[in-house]
């Protein structure tokens, strides 16, 4: 059993896990451990993991930095090549730890907390306890339970009532290690009534070892709050990322999540959205550009629990070579959720004979006055468009590039930071041309 070594590890090192974390996080480990014992890691025998066997990801000899041995890295040095020219406040997680020596961080509005999860659990114990490991329900999810067992730190944004953080925040996750490593990362975003915040999360691998990363991001949007959460994955092919994004939305809140997988190894993104207050609005976007043996699986489960909510999902995959894309979009409209608007779209461009796309829309509607739709297309580049461009003098290869970048445009359009949109278009362009930034010690493109 793959789980056994982690169960043993947890039991044997429990004291050290706790000693290098804080009471707030430690308090949840026993219950998470129980849940993990019950469910284990999901395997491909489960319908929702049919094409993505998560348990195999853990079948190896992975180190965990439970003793918090300092990782020697200057994040500004490691990331300088790819920091978009965005006007943001920048924060770092080195593996799963908040980097406390950050600078270039401008002033924040009064009452806002941005920083380490450990510290937040001590300075804001009530808020921490109200949401941590509550939004990110681990009872039926072995990966989230596992993460909750081992997580020792993470990143928090807390925005109090009526406060707007105008300038986008940027969190850069740096993966650094001398041996194959398991990293368990947490993100908590709490936007109180009428608060607003935008966060861009960038993943960046520094070392050429295997990383297995679990991430649990919990988003709370209270009444009238607005949260933008953008993730840009630019990891090496040796990174296996198991990402879980949870969002609970109150009345009239607006949450926009978009995940752009520019370069990766093996990725599973789980989205669990709950629209709990009337007129809540959720936008979920996903773009995966894959080649080689890369694998991206997006699983979105969106629940309309109250009337008059609006959700919109757009997932796009551009698959080349021997890559695999998986999409499952489940929308649940509860019995009382009348006047729901729920739209889902999955479009895939498969430009090689060996690439594979698996897609499954799943609509469960228990209310009778709703507008729900889903669309799914998988195909190749439009030959007529290709010829049209060529007929104006654009060579075939260049015409293909233009059309591939164009294919991604509407996912980029979901991003509500203009300068980030521009930068994304440039990065996507480079990605398709195989010119993604390479820095001296970065192995992203290997």
């Amino acid at each position: 059993m793959i789980e056994q070594q982690y169960i043993d590890l947890f039991n044997d090192y429990r004291d050290e896990i706790d000693a290098n974390s804080v009471a707030g996080l430690n308090r949840h480990r026993d219950a998470a451990f129980e849940a993990f014992n019950r469910s284990g890691f999901p395997t491909s025998k489960l319908e929702d993991y049919k094409h993505t066997d998560v348990s195999r990801v853990f079948d190896g000899d992975l180190g965990l930095n439970l003793r918090n041995i300092p990782v020697p890295v200057d994040p500004y040095e490691a990331f300088k090549c790819d920091v978009p020219n965005l006007n943001t406040n920048v924060y770092f997680l080195i593996n799963d730890r908040f980097y406390t020596n950050g600078h270039h961080q401008g002033p924040l509005p009064k009452g806002v907390f941005v920083g380490s999860l450990q510290l937040f659990s001590e300075t804001h114990p009530d808020i921490f306890e109200r949401y941590y490991a509550k939004i990110g329900d681990y009872s039926g999810n072995g990966v989230v339970a596992y993460n909750t067992m081992f997580a020792q730190d993470g990143f928090v944004i807390y925005v109090p009532e009526n406060v707007v953080i105008e300038k986008p925040l940027q969190l850069i996750n740096i993966l650094r290690g001398g041996v194959d490593l398991n990293v368990n990362r947490r993100i908590l975003i709490v936007a109180e009534k009428n608060a607003q915040v935008k966060l861009l999360v960038c993943d960046h691998t520094v070392d050429d070892v295997q990383f297995v990363v679990t991430q649990v991001a919990e988003i709370v949007a209270d009444r009238d709050a607005q949260v933008d959460f953008y993730e840009l994955e630019e990891n090496s092919v040796k990174v296996k990322l198991l990402n879980n994004v949870f969002a609970n939305q109150a009345e009239n809140s607006n949450v926009t999540v978009s995940t752009i997988t520019l370069h990766n190894g093996f990725t599973r993104n789980n989205y669990r959205f709950r629209l709990l207050g009337e007129r809540a609005e959720a936008h979920i976007g996903g773009l995966a550009i894959c080649d080689k043996e890369q694998h991206v699986d997006n699983y979105a489960f969106l629940e309309h629990a109250t009337p008059n909510c609006h959700s919109n999902e757009l997932f796009k995959y551009a698959l080349q070579e021997r890559s695999t894309g998986v999409f499952c979009g489940r929308i649940l409209v509860d019995k009382g959720a009348q006047k729901t608007l729920a739209y889902q779209n999955n479009k895939n461009l498969v430009t090689s004979d060996e690439a594979k796309m698996f897609s499954k829309p799943q609509l469960e509607i228990y209310a009778d006055d709703v507008k729900c739709s889903h669309g799914l297309t998988t195909g190749q580049l439009d030959q007529d468009a290709l010829f049209y461009l060529q007929a104006r003098g654009i060579p075939e290869e260049e015409a293909r590039m233009l059309l591939m970048v164009a294919f991604t445009q509407d996912v980029v359009d979901l991003v509500r930071i203009d300068s980030l949109q521009d930068r994304l278009v440039q990065l996507i362009n480079k990605r398709f041309r195989g010119e993604l930034m390479r820095c001296g010690n970065c192995h992203v493109c290997k």
Binding site: L389, Q390, R392, G393, I394, P395, E398, L403, A406, D410
Partner: protein, 250 residues
């Protein structure tokens, strides 16, 4: 008179069906040729074959453009050599802006001629000038290529692109279809303004109407994959009056 285009015994098939069955046609500099003919006679196929659409397979014949074999060239190279096809059904390309599309096309053509990339200010000026020539709204060029354009706007956009790229040989494939009379006048005026003694145009149309505005030097009738009649401008008037039947079943 310098010869520009020489089509010899051109045969082409699409999906195993022969559409062009031996076309002979010569176009000289300064000339405007009209090609008319009933539906399904092969007019659009001829236009597509000249532009290099890979859907059509040429089985026999040759096409010399400026004394070079056109059929050996990639579609993009044909465009760079100066051939322009105004599409009967312009393609919508969401996500590619008109501005980026035109800049890319223009710069590819300049590169081919050994010229430098056009500067941003010159490009914008050129766009504005040509837009005004065709009466195109500035909003239209900031959108994706043909996306959400009306039928008339698409046709006007074709001639706008032609104005931007300044080709030697323009092939207009039923550019008049879907145009109201005002739009037709604007498009025709645009085509006429772009015409000069060192250029030529092939105008494919069903109707004499367009030829009231674009005066052809030569009129051909294409029927069942062959040119069955060639004449002067009067031929178009005769066709308008008598239809094609007298030619097809003499």
């Amino acid at each position: 008179m310098t010869n520009l285009l020489k089509i010899k015994n051109l045969h082409a098939v699409v999906e195993n069906k022969e559409i062009l069955k031996g076309i002979h046609l010569e176009v000289n500099e300064g000339e405007i040729h009209a090609i008319m003919g009933p539906n399904g006679s092969g007019k659009s196929t001829l236009a597509s074959v000249l532009a290099g659409n890979p859907k059509y397979e040429v089985t026999r014949g040759s096409v010399l453009f400026k004394d070079r074999e056109l059929l050996d060239m990639e579609p993009a190279d044909r465009a760079k050599e100066g051939i322009f096809l105004s599409f009967q059904y312009p393609i919508e390309i969401p996500g590619v802006s008109m501005v980026n599309f035109m800049r890319a096309a223009l710069n590819e053509q300049r590169k081919y001629r050994g010229e430098e990339q056009i500067s941003a200010s010159n490009f914008l000026k050129l766009m504005r000038d040509k837009r005004e020539l065709l009466g195109i709204d500035s909003q239209l060029v900031s959108r994706s290529v043909n996306e959400g354009f009306s039928g008339g706007e698409k046709k006007r956009n074709e001639i706008f692109q032609m104005a931007m790229l300044n080709p030697t040989l323009a092939i207009l494939d039923e550019t008049d279809s879907g145009l109201d009379i005002d739009a037709l006048r604007i498009v025709a005026a645009g085509v006429n303004a772009l015409h000069s003694p060192d250029k030529a145009a092939i105008v494919i149309t069903h109707y004499q109407r367009l030829l009231d505005y674009i005066q052809p030097d030569v009129v051909h009738v294409l029927y069942d994959g062959k040119i069955i009649k060639t004449g002067g401008p009067d031929l178009a008037l005769e066709l308008e009056e008598k239809g094609y039947d007298w030619l097809v079943n003499p």
